[in-house]
């Protein structure tokens, strides 16, 4: 459980995080979404006690991070995967971290294996690819087997196979009852994993809701229609106030009319429908809708 209340951080004259409040609950993956520079990383640094807030509080398991007794066994964090001394090997890097956290050093082998870095564990990390750095960062976060995880852009730089592995890992960690906060600017990635989403834009939380709710409210509410008479149906729906975009293979993408109204209008005009699918809307649409409108004001 992560609790954030009224968190504010200024760097010079710039407000990076502006009175942010939210809870991150265990058992689900919570997506922390926002464009680059919107305050995601700063919020995570504030939760971890690395930066001092100008106002507000952040607690993990009810305690400010700096006061946790066994931080690495309570919280696993991946902030900046490349923030590693280039001349150390992955194994040595994880070893000092394990020692600092009072974690048995045998855990190092387990997490190296878990993220698939065992073969490269004795190489200096300077030569690692971005994807390998991300795996090392994930290994570091998992080292203490913590009930809470904060991961800043964990799939950045991973290949599709790596992305799929991380997605499965996140879902498994949440299913085990852990609190998982994952930031991303890649909306599609969150659509696959996050159940709850926090959307941040210019330092403010603009949405704190379930993914389903978010896409329903802000996803555009369009309906996909398939018919053997697309031209005639398009004219009928346009007449009923719909906004119709022609598609391929006798499909129409209709906005501004609910699915029921489209079905009624088609029946009244004697047009057969082969498909009538309300689209949930993509998270990307919802995100642009929110951040574009909600924050500019």
């Amino acid at each position: 459980m992560i609790t954030v209340r009224g968190l504010t951080k200024r760097y010079g004259g710039t407000v990076a995080v502006d009175g942010v409040s939210f809870d991150v609950r265990p058992g689900v993956v919570t997506g922390f979404l926002g464009p680059n520079g919107s305050g995601k990383s700063t919020t995570m640094r504030l939760i971890l006690g690395l930066d001092r807030p100008g106002a507000g509080t952040a607690t993990v398991h009810g305690v400010p991070y700096r006061e946790l007794t066994a931080p690495l066994r309570q919280v696993g964090a991946l902030l900046d995967a490349k923030a590693v001394h280039g001349n150390r090997s992955a194994r040595r890097h994880l070893t000092w971290l394990a020692r600092a956290g009072g974690i048995p050093v045998r855990r190092v082998e387990e997490v190296l294996d878990q993220v698939g870095l065992t073969a490269a564990a004795d190489r200096k990390v300077r030569g690692y690819s971005l994807g390998m750095f991300q795996r090392l960062g994930l290994a570091a976060a998992l080292l203490g087997d913590p009930p809470t995880l904060l991961l800043d852009e964990p799939v950045n730089g991973l290949d599709p196979d790596g992305v799929r592995q991380v997605r499965r890992l996140l879902l498994r960690l949440a299913a085990e009852g852990r609190t998982v906060l994952v930031s991303s600017h890649q909306m599609a990635e969150m659509q696959e994993t996050a159940e709850h989403v926090l959307v941040i834009g210019r330092g403010r939380i603009v949405a704190d809701t379930t993914l389903a709710e978010l896409t329903r409210e802000h996803g555009g509410g369009r309906v996909l229609v398939r018919t053997p008479e697309p031209e005639r149906l398009a004219a009928v729906l346009a007449g009923a106030g719909g906004e119709v975009l022609p598609g391929t293979d006798c499909r129409l993408d209709v906005g501004g009319l609910p699915a029921a109204a489209i079905g009624d209008a088609a029946a009244a005009a004697g047009i057969t429908l082969h498909e009538l699918t309300p689209s949930r809307g993509s998270l990307e649409d919802a995100f642009l809708d929110l951040v574009g409108v909600g924050v500019a004001a």
Binding site: R66, L72, H85, G101, G102
Partner: protein
């Protein structure tokens, strides 16, 4: 169930030691400091031997083997100061400090562990280097018909220079936590070490008489080194210990205050 016991300061100390010992650059700097320090002593010894026949009688009479032997500590000292500085500055240049303070949010533990690790390594390496310098000097000057130093004085010089170097490394680590920059810290430390000697002649006479001995460098020398016949009056051991402790406390407190207040 998560084990929530505090891993304690011992965990931080082991962690910092692992970091320190796992870098090849650290091992190379320690080895290089020892080798170059002994080599500097050897070079001076060779110069003395080559010109010995031309030395005036009174200079020959005043020649002290031990004082000449430890000349290599200048090289060793500077290299080990840089080592202390980079041990901290590399945390910031690699941005790894974020992970260090995530693993150990208690800033005072990280400061204390770094200070202990660097000071212990500096002490051991300096003692080895100085012992090597003296052994080499005794060998080189054995034919000069000068009295060898007493064993007690040798031990005092070796340990004194070692402790001096270790205390200097405490300064290097603390100052770098404040400045976070290798170049800035090295410049500041060299200024602290050599500044008084450079600026001294331009200051009023009473400064050299009464003020200078309270500076960190001269006070550390009074505490750890046997006095040389022509050195300015220093502090007694007790007073020197107090002055050195006060200086180090100031630097450590500045480092801790910086760590607690400033963003990582």
């Amino acid at each position: 169930m998560t084990d929530l016991r505090d891993p304690g300061f011992a965990a931080t100390l082991r962690s910092e030691w692992t970091k320190f010992a796992s870098l090849r650059s650290v091992r190379v700097t320690l080895g290089l400091g020892i080798v170059l320090g002994i080599a500097a002593t050897g070079l001076l010894g060779w110069a003395v031997l080559a010109t010995w026949d031309e030395w005036p009688a009174e200079e020959r009479a005043a020649f002290a083997v031990l004082d000449t032997a430890v000349v290599g500590t200048l090289v060793t000292g500077v290299l080990f100061l840089v080592l202390g500085v980079t041990t901290v500055s590399s945390e910031y240049s690699s941005r790894m400090a974020g992970l260090t303070f995530t693993a150990t949010p208690r800033r005072e533990r990280v400061l204390a562990a770094k200070v202990l690790v660097v000071a212990a390594a500096t002490l051991v390496a300096t003692v080895v280097a100085v012992a090597g310098m003296i052994a080499l000097a005794l060998l080189v000057f054995s034919g000069l018909d000068r009295p060898g130093p007493e064993a007690g004085r040798v031990v005092r010089v070796v340990l004194g220079i070692g402790v001096n170097a270790a205390l200097s490394s405490v300064l290097a680590v603390s100052l770098t936590f404040v400045l976070r920059s290798a170049a800035g810290s090295v410049a500041a430390l060299l200024g602290l070490s050599f500044g008084p000697a450079v600026a001294g002649p331009f200051l009023p006479g009473w400064w050299a008489e009464h003020g200078q001995r309270y500076l960190l460098g001269p006070a550390m020398d009074s505490l750890t080194l046997p006095s040389f016949p022509d050195s300015p009056p220093g502090l007694g051991t007790g007073a020197a210990a107090l002055v050195v402790a006060a200086w180090l406390a100031v630097f450590l407190a500045a480092a801790l205050a910086t760590l607690r207040r400033r963003d990582v």
